[in-house]
Symmetry: C2
Subunit: 355 residues, 2 copies
């Protein structure tokens, strides 16, 4: 099976900015090139495409070649006959879109395009609808080979593969998923199958936020069950409402807006009244501590928050999935998809503007 | 100024279920009656209305009366001439709606109705629109005297008062807010003014979830700033996306659905790769620990999760405030309000059905 990986992985970022060898271990290269090495060693026919190969240190490129990986700067050449195309292209979304559009006409029949930690597969799938239709390439599937860690580090022991679960219209066939599973397993990795829409929340760097929110919900659930003895529906309502509000404020007004609007002192006083079984509430206790010293932790954001004024008003606690259902009843699935695309675009552009 | 508090506060719940004296201190009564005592001691003309007064222990009722609080079982009598009406009525929302509807015609001119920890003021305000219009009582304001703690415990040192911030149409006047501020301050409490839509997320029991998610965002922000060195917009995008997904799944599929769909093992493996500066990530480290032993902590939910199958599909990551903005452009503010009401109703009913 021919596998092509797009994007070497930024040596500068991994070595100089993130200092991966000291922090996480392993040795360069990291990222897409480390994935390519693994797959080649597992016996696959692997090509790695990157436009900046000639700028990379010779000894590291040699390492990749010696593992049996073919290197090229030509995206189209690399795509020809590829049954799996993995995009480890940069975060800036324009590049990933462009590479994907370029390669669609050249991939093998029934090929599968996979995103990694740099782009949601649903966003890419939605973006490529036009070219898929124009080229008559409905045979191409969409999934992920999300490393959920930095390839090349000892922490990278798994791949998250996106399935059709929760989707109305499938984006990938069972055969394509099986190909990806085999590729991961042959490379010695564990496979997690996840609904396509949830892969980013679990695999991206934001897993810090996802997992802390999730375990915070577990901690609250246990206190509600054992101490507050409130109904399960009340617990779930409070969890969904709290996280919706925090998410909405960040999406709409950014991090400084969050701090200004939620009021750190009010949260602290309110939270202290909810320490009911200290030993069972490690996250709550730590959260109080973080709220106490927030001025030392993120002084620059507190300063921004001082000056923050919401420009205009929008509802912050409306539960997203119910809004979506309501709209679907109203306008049908096709228009809904357009509305969702627009909403994601607004979301992303709004956040980028604040940079 | 005449102040009426509705709802004594459940002695059975506070003493036998929650065991407040052992856990938090103070002595009975707790809840609405404790608020009434404070306000009376501060010199206000205070009435406490509760339908079940005769079932309460005599010595506790005496304590309330000795503080100067008038007691009655007649909601209408209690409403006559009241300038502040505080609803400490039970969680079950039907009761709070009914009491509020009953008292609207009898309140003093420019009175303000306040909810506490048992209901969102915006939900109540929206529910009462009909009777307000029928009775021509647009003079009545809506806010909160949210204790964000159990009144009668030493932790209760503050009130959260809801403002018009973030709302398109005001629900309360400055004079009404000033009355509430004075009431709180005269009772020796600190005042926090918060946008009406955010009071529940900060003051309710769900503050555990809100504060852990918030401090989790702070922890991720700092790692992104100091270690990952990613752009601020990327950080905010990840925070908003992660919390939206967790909130959406709980709202749509409940807690068991959350556990099944997010995949605890995948989260754990992904999270471990994000421990980059252990000492600066106390929440992340604790989250890993909770994920490790989740089987002991909430075995009954894991069992449910095993059997969980999503009944149908809906998008989980659509950012709520952008959907709302899009809809407002499409249908205008009035229809939007109706859609939001319906969405909240669907949300609440869906969660209650799972009880």
């Amino acid at each position: 099976m021919k596998v092509t990986v797009y994007g070497f992985g930024s040596l500068n970022y991994y070595l100089n900015k993130l200092r991966v060898p000291e922090r996480l271990g392993g040795e360069p290269p990291y990222g897409g090139s480390a994935m390519a090495i693994e797959f080649a060693k597992a016996g696959y026919d692997v090509t790695l495409a990157d436009p900046h190969l000639e700028k990379l240190p010779r000894e590291i490129v040699d390492k990749v070649e010696k593992a049996g990986v073919k290197l090229t700067t030509d995206d189209v050449e690399a795509a020809k006959g590829a049954e799996v195309a993995i995009l480890f292209t940069p975060f800036r979304s324009g590049i990933t879109f462009k590479v994907a559009e370029t390669i669609v006409p050249h991939l093998a029949e029934n090929a599968v395009i996979c995103t990694t930690c740099t782009m949601s597969i649903l966003v890419l799938n939605s973006y490529l609808q036009n070219i898929i239709f124009m080229e008559g390439r409905e045979d191409i599937g969409f999934s992920t080979m999300h490393p959920a860690a930095i390839p090349g580090t000892p922490q990278h022991k798994h791949y998250l593969i996106a399935t059709n679960e929760l989707l109305k219209k499938p984006i990938v066939t069972q055969e394509q998923i099986d190909n990806l599973k085999n590729l991961a397993i042959d490379a010695g990795k564990k496979v997690y199958l996840l609904p396509a829409e949830l892969v980013s929340a679990v695999g991206d760097m934001g897993i810090i936020t996802t997992a802390i929110a999730f375990t915070g919900a577990v901690e609250y659930y246990r206190i509600a069950r054992d101490v507050l003895k409130t109904k399960r529906s009340m617990t779930e309502f409070q969890i969904a409402q709290s996280l919706q509000v925090v998410s909405s404020i960040v999406a709409r007004y950014g991090f400084a807006g969050l701090i200004k609007l939620l009021n750190v002192d009010a949260m602290k006083d309110s939270l202290k009244s909810m320490i009911l079984e200290k030993n069972e509430q490690p996250l709550t206790v730590t959260a109080v501590d973080i709220l106490e010293k927030i001025g030392e932790l993120i002084p620059e954001v507190l300063e921004e928050a001082e000056k923050f004024e919401p420009s205009d008003s929008v509802y912050m606690s409306a539960p997203s999935p119910m809004l979506v259902e309501y709209m679907e009843d109203l306008v049908g699935d096709d228009v809904l998809k357009g509305i969702l695309r627009e909403s994601w675009k607004k979301f992303y552009e709004g956040i980028s503007e604040r940079d």
